[in-house]
Protein backbone atom coordinates (compact mmCIF):
# COMPACT_ATOMS: atom_id res chain seq x y z
CA UNK A 1 0.00 0.00 0.00
CA UNK A 2 1.45 3.31 -0.92
CA UNK A 3 1.08 6.09 1.58
CA UNK A 4 0.47 9.53 0.20
CA UNK A 5 2.72 11.54 2.50
CA UNK A 6 1.81 14.85 0.99
CA UNK A 7 -1.96 14.50 0.82
CA UNK A 8 -2.58 16.84 3.74
CA UNK A 9 0.17 19.21 2.61
CA UNK A 10 -2.37 20.72 0.26
CA UNK A 11 -4.32 23.50 2.00
CA UNK A 12 -7.46 22.26 0.24
CA UNK A 13 -7.25 18.86 1.98
CA UNK A 14 -5.93 20.18 5.26
CA UNK A 15 -8.66 22.75 5.79
CA UNK A 16 -11.46 20.24 6.52
CA UNK A 17 -9.11 17.99 8.52
CA UNK A 18 -8.14 20.94 10.73
CA UNK A 19 -11.83 21.75 11.13
CA UNK A 20 -12.43 18.25 12.48
CA UNK A 21 -9.40 18.30 14.78
CA UNK A 22 -10.06 21.69 16.39
CA UNK A 23 -13.02 20.57 18.60
CA UNK A 24 -11.01 17.51 19.72
CA UNK A 25 -8.10 19.67 20.81
CA UNK A 26 -10.41 22.18 22.50
CA UNK A 27 -12.09 19.43 24.54
CA UNK A 28 -8.71 17.98 25.50
CA UNK A 29 -7.36 21.45 26.31
CA UNK A 30 -10.27 22.40 28.58
CA UNK A 31 -10.44 18.96 30.19
CA UNK A 32 -6.72 18.63 30.91
CA UNK A 33 -6.23 22.23 32.01
CA UNK A 34 -9.32 22.04 34.21
CA UNK A 35 -8.17 18.79 35.80
CA UNK A 36 -4.61 20.00 36.21
CA UNK A 37 -5.64 23.26 37.85
CA UNK A 38 -8.22 21.52 40.08
CA UNK A 39 -5.59 19.02 41.20
CA UNK A 40 -3.08 21.79 41.67
CA UNK A 41 -5.35 24.03 43.71
CA UNK A 42 -7.26 21.53 45.84
CA UNK A 43 -5.42 18.22 45.95
CA UNK A 44 -1.97 19.44 46.88
CA UNK A 45 -0.66 19.92 50.43
CA UNK A 46 -1.53 23.38 51.72
CA UNK A 47 1.66 24.24 53.51
CA UNK A 48 5.00 22.97 52.37
CA UNK A 49 8.17 23.50 54.32
CA UNK A 50 9.05 26.98 53.12
CA UNK A 51 6.57 27.60 50.33
CA UNK A 52 3.42 29.65 50.68
CA UNK A 53 0.15 29.73 48.78
CA UNK A 54 1.58 31.83 45.97
CA UNK A 55 3.58 28.86 44.75
CA UNK A 56 0.39 27.70 43.01
CA UNK A 57 1.16 30.09 40.16
CA UNK A 58 3.64 27.36 39.17
CA UNK A 59 0.86 25.44 37.42
CA UNK A 60 0.37 28.21 34.89
CA UNK A 61 3.88 29.60 34.86
CA UNK A 62 5.77 26.38 34.16
CA UNK A 63 3.27 25.28 31.53
CA UNK A 64 3.46 28.52 29.53
CA UNK A 65 7.25 28.69 29.81
CA UNK A 66 7.58 25.18 28.41
CA UNK A 67 5.15 26.03 25.64
CA UNK A 68 7.05 29.22 24.75
CA UNK A 69 10.25 27.24 24.26
CA UNK A 70 8.66 24.25 22.59
CA UNK A 71 6.67 26.37 20.13
CA UNK A 72 9.84 28.14 18.96
CA UNK A 73 11.26 24.75 18.02
CA UNK A 74 8.02 23.85 16.29
CA UNK A 75 8.04 27.14 14.37
CA UNK A 76 11.59 26.50 13.17
CA UNK A 77 10.66 22.93 12.27
CA UNK A 78 7.75 24.00 10.07
CA UNK A 79 9.85 26.72 8.46
CA UNK A 80 12.56 24.18 7.68
CA UNK A 81 10.06 21.70 6.25
CA UNK A 82 8.71 24.50 4.11
CA UNK A 83 12.15 25.45 2.83
CA UNK A 84 13.06 21.83 2.05
CA UNK A 85 9.83 20.59 0.47
CA UNK A 86 8.54 23.97 -0.68
CA UNK A 87 5.11 23.31 0.82
CA UNK A 88 2.98 26.38 1.42
CA UNK A 89 1.08 24.83 4.31
CA UNK A 90 4.21 24.35 6.42
CA UNK A 91 4.96 28.05 6.21
CA UNK A 92 1.39 28.82 7.23
CA UNK A 93 1.83 26.54 10.25
CA UNK A 94 5.04 28.37 11.17
CA UNK A 95 3.30 31.72 10.86
CA UNK A 96 0.38 30.56 12.99
CA UNK A 97 2.72 29.10 15.61
CA UNK A 98 4.70 32.33 15.99
CA UNK A 99 1.78 34.28 17.43
CA UNK A 100 0.80 31.66 20.02
CA UNK A 101 4.49 31.31 20.92
CA UNK A 102 4.93 35.04 21.45
CA UNK A 103 1.80 35.06 23.60
CA UNK A 104 3.10 32.18 25.72
CA UNK A 105 6.43 33.95 26.24
CA UNK A 106 4.59 37.09 27.28
CA UNK A 107 2.34 35.23 29.74
CA UNK A 108 5.40 33.43 31.12
CA UNK A 109 7.08 36.79 31.78
CA UNK A 110 3.99 38.33 33.38
CA UNK A 111 3.18 35.34 35.59
CA UNK A 112 6.85 35.13 36.50
CA UNK A 113 6.87 38.83 37.43
CA UNK A 114 3.87 38.38 39.73
CA UNK A 115 5.50 35.40 41.35
CA UNK A 116 8.75 37.30 41.68
CA UNK A 117 6.98 40.22 43.35
CA UNK A 118 5.57 38.04 46.14
CA UNK A 119 8.51 35.70 46.63
CA UNK A 120 11.58 37.87 45.95
CA UNK A 121 9.98 41.28 46.49
CA UNK A 122 10.77 42.50 43.00
CA UNK A 123 8.97 42.37 39.66
CA UNK A 124 12.13 41.76 37.70
CA UNK A 125 15.58 40.39 38.30
CA UNK A 126 18.34 39.82 35.74
CA UNK A 127 18.33 36.12 36.43
CA UNK A 128 19.46 33.98 33.45
CA UNK A 129 16.09 32.29 33.02
CA UNK A 130 14.15 35.55 33.06
CA UNK A 131 16.56 37.18 30.64
CA UNK A 132 16.41 34.21 28.32
CA UNK A 133 12.61 34.28 28.21
CA UNK A 134 12.73 38.01 27.42
CA UNK A 135 15.15 37.37 24.55
CA UNK A 136 12.97 34.54 23.31
CA UNK A 137 10.06 36.97 23.17
CA UNK A 138 12.24 39.41 21.20
CA UNK A 139 13.01 36.64 18.72
CA UNK A 140 9.30 35.90 18.30
CA UNK A 141 8.58 39.61 17.82
CA UNK A 142 11.35 39.88 15.20
CA UNK A 143 9.85 36.94 13.33
CA UNK A 144 6.34 38.41 13.39
CA UNK A 145 7.62 41.88 12.41
CA UNK A 146 9.57 40.56 9.45
CA UNK A 147 6.67 38.41 8.28
CA UNK A 148 4.19 41.26 8.42
CA UNK A 149 6.57 43.76 6.77
CA UNK A 150 6.79 41.76 3.53
CA UNK A 151 3.78 41.96 1.25
CA UNK A 152 4.69 39.06 -1.01
CA UNK A 153 3.58 36.06 1.03
CA UNK A 154 6.07 33.65 -0.56
CA UNK A 155 9.03 35.89 0.22
CA UNK A 156 7.64 36.62 3.69
CA UNK A 157 7.39 32.88 4.43
CA UNK A 158 10.87 32.02 3.26
CA UNK A 159 12.60 35.06 4.74
CA UNK A 160 11.09 34.55 8.17
CA UNK A 161 11.90 30.83 8.05
CA UNK A 162 15.56 31.71 7.41
CA UNK A 163 15.41 34.24 10.26
CA UNK A 164 14.01 31.65 12.68
CA UNK A 165 16.76 29.18 11.66
CA UNK A 166 19.45 31.79 12.29
CA UNK A 167 17.77 32.51 15.62
CA UNK A 168 17.85 28.83 16.55
CA UNK A 169 21.55 28.66 15.67
CA UNK A 170 22.38 31.63 17.87
CA UNK A 171 20.07 30.73 20.79
CA UNK A 172 22.56 28.26 22.38
CA UNK A 173 25.28 30.92 22.25
CA UNK A 174 22.96 33.52 23.77
CA UNK A 175 21.86 31.00 26.39
CA UNK A 176 25.44 30.22 27.36
CA UNK A 177 26.49 33.85 27.41
CA UNK A 178 23.49 34.91 29.51
CA UNK A 179 23.96 32.00 31.91
CA UNK A 180 27.60 32.68 32.34
CA UNK A 181 28.54 36.27 31.49
CA UNK A 182 31.91 35.78 33.13
CA UNK A 183 33.44 32.49 31.98
CA UNK A 184 35.87 32.55 34.91
CA UNK A 185 33.07 32.06 37.42
CA UNK A 186 30.92 29.68 35.50
CA UNK A 187 30.76 26.92 38.07
CA UNK A 188 29.23 29.08 40.76
CA UNK A 189 26.56 30.40 38.42
CA UNK A 190 25.20 27.03 37.45
CA UNK A 191 21.70 26.52 38.72
CA UNK A 192 20.31 23.13 39.62
CA UNK A 193 16.99 22.07 38.23
CA UNK A 194 14.61 21.60 41.12
CA UNK A 195 12.46 19.22 39.13
CA UNK A 196 13.27 16.02 41.05
CA UNK A 197 12.40 17.34 44.47
CA UNK A 198 8.86 18.32 43.54
CA UNK A 199 6.04 16.78 45.56
CA UNK A 200 4.20 14.22 43.42
CA UNK A 201 0.74 15.87 43.56
CA UNK A 202 2.19 19.19 42.49
CA UNK A 203 4.12 17.46 39.73
CA UNK A 204 0.93 15.79 38.51
CA UNK A 205 -0.94 19.10 38.44
CA UNK A 206 1.92 20.78 36.64
CA UNK A 207 2.35 18.13 33.97
CA UNK A 208 -1.37 17.79 33.27
CA UNK A 209 -1.77 21.57 32.98
CA UNK A 210 1.20 21.71 30.64
CA UNK A 211 -0.43 19.03 28.50
CA UNK A 212 -3.65 21.03 28.52
CA UNK A 213 -1.84 24.16 27.39
CA UNK A 214 -0.20 22.11 24.68
CA UNK A 215 -3.61 21.05 23.38
CA UNK A 216 -4.77 24.68 23.62
CA UNK A 217 -1.80 25.68 21.46
CA UNK A 218 -2.70 23.05 18.88
CA UNK A 219 -6.31 24.22 18.81
CA UNK A 220 -5.50 27.92 18.39
CA UNK A 221 -2.75 27.25 15.86
CA UNK A 222 -5.10 25.16 13.76
CA UNK A 223 -7.78 27.83 13.97
CA UNK A 224 -5.28 30.46 12.88
CA UNK A 225 -4.01 28.25 10.06
CA UNK A 226 -7.54 27.88 8.77
CA UNK A 227 -7.92 31.65 8.66
CA UNK A 228 -4.56 32.04 6.91
CA UNK A 229 -5.54 29.41 4.34
CA UNK A 230 -8.78 31.25 3.59
CA UNK A 231 -6.97 34.57 3.35
CA UNK A 232 -4.39 33.32 0.91
CA UNK A 233 -6.57 31.06 -1.21
CA UNK A 234 -9.41 33.55 -1.38
CA UNK A 235 -9.41 33.45 -5.19
CA UNK A 236 -9.45 29.68 -5.63
CA UNK A 237 -12.43 27.60 -6.63
CA UNK A 238 -12.63 25.42 -3.53
CA UNK A 239 -12.77 28.39 -1.20
CA UNK A 240 -15.55 30.04 -3.16
CA UNK A 241 -17.52 26.79 -2.82
CA UNK A 242 -17.36 26.87 1.00
Amino acid sequence: MSVSWFKYAAPMNFYPLAGKLIPVFWILAIGLTGFGLYWGFFQTPDVLSDQKQYYRIIFVHVAVSWMAMWLYGMMVFWGLVGLVFNTRLSFMMAQATSITGALMAFVALVSGAVWGKVSWGTWWDWDPRLTMMLILMFLYIGYIALHSAIDNSRRADQASAVLSLVGLAVVPIIYYSVNCPNPNECNSLHQESSFKGVESNILLGMLVTALGFWMYSFATILMRVRTIILERDINTKWVSKL
Binding site: F138, L146, R155, V162, L163, G167, V178, P183, N184
Partner: protein
Amino acid sequence: MFNTFWMILKRDLKLALRRRSEVFTVLFFFIIVVSLFPLGVGFNEAMLQQIAPGVAWIAALLSSMLALERLFANDYVDGTLEQMLLTPQPLSMLVLAKMTAHWLLTGLPLILVAPVVGILYHLAPQTVITLMFMLLLGTPILSMIGAIGAALTLGLRGGGVLISLLILPLYIPVLIYGSSAITESTLQSGNIEPHIMLLSAFLLLSLIFSPWATASALKISLE
Protein backbone atom coordinates in the same frame (compact mmCIF):
# COMPACT_ATOMS: atom_id res chain seq x y z
CA MET B 1 37.31 32.87 -6.64
CA PHE B 2 39.65 35.04 -4.57
CA ASN B 3 39.95 37.40 -7.53
CA THR B 4 36.23 38.08 -7.31
CA PHE B 5 36.56 38.61 -3.59
CA TRP B 6 39.28 41.25 -4.13
CA MET B 7 37.42 42.85 -6.97
CA ILE B 8 34.18 43.33 -5.03
CA LEU B 9 36.09 44.47 -1.97
CA LYS B 10 38.04 47.07 -3.95
CA ARG B 11 34.92 48.23 -5.75
CA ASP B 12 32.94 48.67 -2.53
CA LEU B 13 35.78 50.53 -0.86
CA LYS B 14 36.24 52.78 -3.85
CA LEU B 15 32.53 53.57 -3.99
CA ALA B 16 32.46 54.34 -0.28
CA LEU B 17 35.54 56.55 -0.45
CA ARG B 18 33.90 58.61 -3.17
CA ARG B 19 31.21 59.42 -0.61
CA ARG B 20 33.34 59.81 2.48
CA SER B 21 30.62 61.54 4.47
CA GLU B 22 28.84 58.20 4.98
CA VAL B 23 31.85 56.74 6.75
CA PHE B 24 32.17 59.81 8.92
CA THR B 25 28.45 59.86 9.74
CA VAL B 26 28.75 56.44 11.36
CA LEU B 27 31.93 57.41 13.17
CA PHE B 28 30.46 60.60 14.60
CA PHE B 29 27.28 58.79 15.56
CA PHE B 30 29.47 56.53 17.70
CA ILE B 31 31.27 59.47 19.29
CA ILE B 32 28.05 61.40 19.96
CA VAL B 33 26.29 58.43 21.57
CA VAL B 34 29.31 57.76 23.77
CA SER B 35 29.55 61.39 24.88
CA LEU B 36 25.82 61.71 25.59
CA PHE B 37 25.86 59.05 28.33
CA PRO B 38 27.90 61.07 30.87
CA LEU B 39 25.57 64.02 30.29
CA GLY B 40 22.64 61.78 31.18
CA VAL B 41 24.02 59.84 34.14
CA GLY B 42 26.41 62.35 35.73
CA PHE B 43 30.16 62.81 35.82
CA ASN B 44 31.14 60.61 38.76
CA GLU B 45 34.51 59.18 37.70
CA ALA B 46 34.11 55.76 39.32
CA MET B 47 30.67 55.28 37.80
CA LEU B 48 31.84 56.36 34.35
CA GLN B 49 34.67 53.84 34.51
CA GLN B 50 32.16 51.19 35.48
CA ILE B 51 29.68 51.85 32.67
CA ALA B 52 32.28 52.57 29.96
CA PRO B 53 32.57 49.00 28.55
CA GLY B 54 28.82 48.57 28.17
CA VAL B 55 28.30 52.04 26.71
CA ALA B 56 31.15 51.63 24.21
CA TRP B 57 29.78 48.30 23.05
CA ILE B 58 26.18 49.44 22.76
CA ALA B 59 27.32 52.49 20.77
CA ALA B 60 29.33 50.13 18.55
CA LEU B 61 26.31 47.84 18.00
CA LEU B 62 24.09 50.77 17.09
CA SER B 63 26.54 52.47 14.74
CA SER B 64 27.39 49.20 12.99
CA MET B 65 23.68 48.64 12.51
CA LEU B 66 23.12 52.16 11.24
CA ALA B 67 25.20 51.40 8.15
CA LEU B 68 23.69 47.95 7.54
CA GLU B 69 20.79 49.18 5.46
CA ARG B 70 23.22 50.53 2.86
CA LEU B 71 25.11 47.23 2.65
CA PHE B 72 23.00 45.89 -0.22
CA ALA B 73 20.51 48.69 -0.83
CA ASN B 74 22.45 50.72 -3.42
CA ASP B 75 23.39 47.66 -5.43
CA TYR B 76 19.81 46.47 -5.22
CA VAL B 77 18.40 49.73 -6.55
CA ASP B 78 20.67 49.98 -9.60
CA GLY B 79 20.44 46.27 -10.44
CA THR B 80 24.05 45.35 -9.71
CA LEU B 81 23.00 42.86 -7.09
CA GLU B 82 20.90 40.95 -9.58
CA GLN B 83 23.87 40.75 -11.93
CA MET B 84 26.00 39.46 -9.07
CA LEU B 85 23.47 36.70 -8.47
CA LEU B 86 23.73 35.68 -12.11
CA THR B 87 27.52 35.35 -12.13
CA PRO B 88 28.94 31.82 -11.92
CA GLN B 89 30.98 32.81 -8.84
CA PRO B 90 29.72 31.49 -5.49
CA LEU B 91 27.39 34.10 -4.05
CA SER B 92 28.67 33.55 -0.51
CA MET B 93 32.12 34.71 -1.63
CA LEU B 94 30.70 37.94 -3.03
CA VAL B 95 28.72 38.41 0.14
CA LEU B 96 31.84 37.84 2.25
CA ALA B 97 33.62 40.55 0.27
CA LYS B 98 30.77 42.97 0.93
CA MET B 99 30.80 42.11 4.63
CA THR B 100 34.55 42.74 4.75
CA ALA B 101 34.08 46.12 3.08
CA HIS B 102 31.34 46.95 5.57
CA TRP B 103 33.63 46.08 8.46
CA LEU B 104 36.55 48.08 7.05
CA LEU B 105 34.29 51.12 6.70
CA THR B 106 32.31 50.90 9.96
CA GLY B 107 34.13 48.52 12.33
CA LEU B 108 37.74 49.54 11.86
CA PRO B 109 37.15 53.31 12.34
CA LEU B 110 35.43 52.55 15.67
CA ILE B 111 38.52 50.69 16.88
CA LEU B 112 40.67 53.63 15.89
CA VAL B 113 38.56 56.15 17.82
CA ALA B 114 38.27 53.89 20.90
CA PRO B 115 40.98 55.93 22.71
CA VAL B 116 38.50 58.84 22.67
CA VAL B 117 36.19 56.68 24.81
CA GLY B 118 39.14 56.12 27.10
CA ILE B 119 39.64 59.87 27.55
CA LEU B 120 35.95 60.65 28.04
CA TYR B 121 35.48 57.91 30.63
CA HIS B 122 38.85 58.23 32.45
CA LEU B 123 39.97 54.72 31.51
CA ALA B 124 43.48 53.45 32.17
CA PRO B 125 45.65 52.99 29.03
CA GLN B 126 45.72 49.23 29.62
CA THR B 127 41.91 49.11 29.63
CA VAL B 128 41.77 51.09 26.38
CA ILE B 129 44.03 48.54 24.72
CA THR B 130 41.76 45.72 25.90
CA LEU B 131 38.75 47.65 24.60
CA MET B 132 40.39 48.05 21.19
CA PHE B 133 41.35 44.39 21.06
CA MET B 134 37.84 43.22 21.99
CA LEU B 135 36.35 45.58 19.41
CA LEU B 136 38.71 44.08 16.85
CA LEU B 137 37.37 40.60 17.65
CA GLY B 138 33.73 41.61 18.03
CA THR B 139 32.93 44.13 15.31
CA PRO B 140 33.45 41.66 12.40
CA ILE B 141 30.74 39.49 14.02
CA LEU B 142 28.41 42.50 14.00
CA SER B 143 29.00 43.05 10.27
CA MET B 144 28.50 39.38 9.45
CA ILE B 145 25.34 38.72 11.47
CA GLY B 146 23.99 42.10 10.47
CA ALA B 147 24.39 41.23 6.80
CA ILE B 148 21.82 38.44 7.25
CA GLY B 149 19.31 40.98 8.52
CA ALA B 150 20.16 43.42 5.74
CA ALA B 151 19.61 40.71 3.13
CA LEU B 152 16.28 39.63 4.64
CA THR B 153 14.88 43.18 4.77
CA LEU B 154 16.18 44.22 1.36
CA GLY B 155 13.95 46.78 -0.32
CA LEU B 156 11.30 46.83 2.41
CA ARG B 157 9.62 49.97 3.65
CA GLY B 158 11.04 50.95 7.03
CA GLY B 159 13.80 48.39 6.62
CA GLY B 160 16.16 50.24 8.94
CA VAL B 161 14.03 49.90 12.06
CA LEU B 162 13.09 46.37 11.12
CA ILE B 163 16.75 45.29 10.93
CA SER B 164 17.29 46.45 14.49
CA LEU B 165 14.36 44.37 15.66
CA LEU B 166 15.69 41.25 13.95
CA ILE B 167 19.39 41.63 14.61
CA LEU B 168 19.86 43.27 18.02
CA PRO B 169 18.80 40.16 20.00
CA LEU B 170 21.37 38.15 18.05
CA TYR B 171 24.12 40.62 19.04
CA ILE B 172 23.70 39.85 22.74
CA PRO B 173 26.60 37.36 23.10
CA VAL B 174 29.02 39.89 21.55
CA LEU B 175 27.79 42.57 23.94
CA ILE B 176 28.09 40.32 26.99
CA TYR B 177 31.55 38.89 26.32
CA GLY B 178 32.91 42.09 24.80
CA SER B 179 32.02 44.29 27.74
CA SER B 180 32.57 41.77 30.54
CA ALA B 181 36.11 41.16 29.24
CA ILE B 182 36.91 44.85 29.65
CA THR B 183 35.45 44.93 33.15
CA GLU B 184 37.43 41.79 33.97
CA SER B 185 40.67 43.37 32.75
CA THR B 186 40.35 46.18 35.30
CA LEU B 187 40.32 43.70 38.19
CA GLN B 188 43.48 42.63 39.99
CA SER B 189 42.91 38.92 39.47
CA GLY B 190 41.23 39.38 36.10
CA ASN B 191 41.72 36.77 33.42
CA ILE B 192 40.25 37.65 30.06
CA GLU B 193 41.53 34.66 28.14
CA PRO B 194 38.18 32.77 28.31
CA HIS B 195 36.34 35.83 26.98
CA ILE B 196 38.77 36.13 24.08
CA MET B 197 38.43 32.45 23.25
CA LEU B 198 34.62 32.47 23.36
CA LEU B 199 34.39 35.61 21.25
CA SER B 200 36.85 34.16 18.75
CA ALA B 201 34.79 30.98 18.59
CA PHE B 202 31.70 33.05 17.83
CA LEU B 203 33.70 34.95 15.20
CA LEU B 204 34.77 31.73 13.45
CA LEU B 205 31.27 30.30 13.66
CA SER B 206 29.76 33.37 12.03
CA LEU B 207 32.56 33.44 9.46
CA ILE B 208 31.52 29.96 8.37
CA PHE B 209 27.75 30.25 8.49
CA SER B 210 26.81 33.87 7.91
CA PRO B 211 27.98 34.25 4.26
CA TRP B 212 25.98 31.15 3.47
CA ALA B 213 22.87 32.32 5.33
CA THR B 214 23.16 35.80 3.80
CA ALA B 215 23.47 34.34 0.31
CA SER B 216 20.32 32.27 0.72
CA ALA B 217 18.50 35.26 2.22
CA LEU B 218 19.53 37.36 -0.80
CA LYS B 219 18.23 34.70 -3.17
CA ILE B 220 14.88 34.74 -1.38
CA SER B 221 14.70 38.54 -1.43
CA LEU B 222 15.54 38.82 -5.12
CA GLU B 223 13.42 35.96 -6.34
